[in-house]
């Protein structure tokens, strides 16, 4: 059997056009697609199912020249069925138009809900991640503070030891000097020297006090600075945390809005 090219090409065109119309969101175009597709397929059935012939009616044409009646019966059936389905689709278009004022097929809200849930999970995960990072930062700062404290104590202890050593040294020197010059010097000289030494000692004590005070001041200042720093870090952390929370809330709000839009037919778009 030779292949009749023209009907096959026509059928292919109809099917292709119908299939591309089926991909539309508008129900009316979809309906047109169904009709085109149905016609294309019916044409295909008639074309491929046998050579053309006379009408298959007994008594009007010789049985040998008749066309095969079975495909015609099948095509008739399928035409009727396509018509019924078309009527149903039309009523659905009408109902959709009644309900939403349009005939676009809407997105499934439950799918969106599942997607939204996974997005929310991701955002929450990110927030947790960031909080962990900040906690790590705070712990680091605390450790640094403890280390600085320890170093300061060490320094003070060392300074005190140094001072004691120098006092001992001065005392030893004084004793030596007394032993050397004790007999040679007149008592008034000794008294003078002693007074001098006492003055020097007084002075050195004042100096020492001064130094301790300075060290203490220095320490207090540093401590203040550290506290300041820590407060600042905390402040920054709080701000950042608040920002993250705000971001998350905005994201959730945006998702909700999108969700609402999906339910609102006028604003429906291809997400």
């Amino acid at each position: 059997m030779s292949v009749p090219l023209l009907p096959i090409a026509a059928s292919a065109t109809l099917v292709a056009a119908g299939a591309s119309l089926l991909l539309e969101r508008s129900l009316v175009r979809l309906l047109a697609g169904v009709i085109l597709l149905g016609n294309g397929v019916n044409l295909l059935i008639v074309t491929v199912s046998g050579p053309p012939g006379d009408p298959p009616i007994l008594g009007r044409s010789a049985p040998g020249r008749m066309a095969d009646p079975l495909p015609q019966a099948m095509v008739l059936t399928s035409i009727v069925i396509t018509m019924g389905v078309t009527a149903f689709l039309l009523s659905m278009v009408h109902r959709s138009w009644q309900l939403t004022g349009g005939d676009e097929v809407q997105d499934d809200t439950e799918d969106r809900r599942v997607r939204l849930r996974s997005q929310r999970g991701e955002i929450a995960e990110a927030v947790r991640e960031r909080r962990r990072a900040y906690r790590g930062l705070v712990a680091g700062q605390r450790a640094e503070l403890v280390r600085l404290n320890a170093a300061r104590h060490e320094r003070e202890r060392r300074a005190a030891r140094e001072m004691r050593r120098r006092i001992d040294e001065t005392g030893a020197e004084l004793d030596r000097w007394v032993r050397e010059h004790g007999e040679a010097l007149p008592p008034e000289r000794v008294a003078e020297r002693r007074a001098e030494a006492r003055r020097a000692e007084e002075e050195s004590r004042r100096e020492r006090h001064e130094r301790v005070r300075r060290i203490r001041e220095d320490f207090a200042r540093r401590e203040r600075e550290l506290a300041e720093h820590e407060r600042e870090v905390r402040e920054r952390l709080k701000v950042r945390r608040r920002e993250a929370r705000k971001q998350m809330r905005a994201a959730i709000r945006a998702d909700r809005a999108r969700q609402a839009r999906a339910e609102d037919p006028d604003l429906e778009g291809d997400d």
């Binding site: 491929v48 495909p71 099948m74 069925i81 389905v85 659905m92 959709s96 309900l99 939403t100 599942v114």
Partner: protein, 589 residues
Amino acid sequence: MESLVPVPVVLPLLAAALKLAIGGRLRRTQAFISVGTLAVVLAVSLVLLVAADRQGPLVTNAGGWPAPFGISLVADRLATVMLTVSSAVTLCVMVFSQAQAYADQEQAAPLAIFHPAYLIMSAGVSDAFLTGDLFNLFVAFEMLLSGSYVLLTFGGTESRVRAGATYAVVALVSSMLFLVAIAVTYGATGTVSMAQLAERFTPLPGSVRLLVELTLLLVFVVKAAVFPMSGWLPDSYPTAPAPATALFAGLLTKVGVYSIIRLEALLFPGGPVGGLLMWAALATMLLGVLGAAAQTDIKRMLSFTLVSHIGYMVFGVALFSVGGMAGAVLYAVHHITVQTSLFLVAGMIERRTGTTSVDRLGGLLGLAPLISVLFFVPAMNLAGIPPMSGFLGKLALVRAGVADGSPVALTLVAGGLVTSLLTLYAVAMTWNRAFWRTPPPDVAGAGTVLEGEETPEDAEGSGGAEGSEDAESPEGAGGSEGAGDPGERGGPGGPGGPGGPGGPDGPGEARGPGAAGAGRARGTEGITGREIVTSVRMPPPMIGATAALVALGLSYTVLAGPLSAFTVRTAAELLARRPYISAVLGSGR
């Protein structure tokens, strides 16, 4: 005996015509017609089952046209067993839907539209099982589809129209593809009688055979919701009325599976697509069940498990051995029953609490122990806990897979076991959240039931306000119910209830979840798709129908021996092919 073969197709069609003529009147007569018709169909199916098992395939030629030219209806073992299970399920669901419609005071629309569509659909399903003619199979598909279009979009609410659009378009495309396949088949062989096709496909060139086989397979795979073609199902099923979803879940996909079995066993025995089917089965099982684990809505979860478990049957078919086919048939029988009963229970949960979302459910075990038991048993059955029929079906398939021994088959066995575990995980999670946990304060729990025994007029009032589907009608009705709310709270609403969710804050707070959450909850849809009032009262027929299905699912355990012996006989008959062909074309061939 042969004259009984067309009854399951013709009788529901006649009943549908009669009911269309009667319209919305004569409720009792109508109920009697529907239930009576389906009961007769069930009885006839049982008779056919026994006869086909004893005497081999029963054949009748429609209109008296001899076999290769006219349409023959063939009742062999596979067809009759599917027919019997499907008519039992259909009958139970019909009883359930009638009880629900009556309890919801929705009468006219269900009688005038729901029942005829339902009957036409069941006629289509029977025709698909019985037909011995490829084009008539197309007509059967169209019959059941046009019935299902109506059931799916029943009431014409927005969500149902949306779901209906997806469903209708997918169904239409597959129907068109079916027509193309028929055109190619007829062009290549000059016949559409399946028995004759089985003989005429063999001498064809391999490429043509493969083309026809793949096209037909694609059509059936869309119907059965096998993996690459399964996306439409979870989007469209959950919005339909509960009885319709239950019926769809039980029957429509199984019609696709049945067609795949026929295609692979009768028309293209041992074709080259077995390997392809194996991988499709694996993907269907795993992706379906992973989808189920991600859902928070019971109906959607069930839809995904439905898709997932289709994979088991496809696996059995793809093995192409007596064991595999027998396992597939056994699994189909089990799955029809169990999946339908689960969806019916989901409908009861929705009626009881106003929602099927597990986020908003909780503590159902205390609130509704009967529903809980009715959910638990088929859920465990679905997951394949021994000794229930789900376990038996899976066991049969696993044994067939191990007997096959190829690496792919063993992979599938492993995939099947993983799927079974994940199914258990999905249903157990639903069970934990919906039934076991203490309900969170804003959950539609005990205190939110608005309609109790004392207030049937409430339902009537809402029925009256329903007439206009405008935006203000739910508000108005909700308000009128809100007025009666605090009074009822103390009455029937508190079986085991923790004193109402908003106890300390007084009625103002208590109304919050009450009026918004359950009274007219969004998404709470009755059979016609409008929002219904939840109720603690379950009509006995609803419970009875569901319990009957659950019991049927359990009875497969008791009947395991005869049943599996029967499925083995079925598979042997399928793979032999000769009984079918000679019964249709005459034993001389």
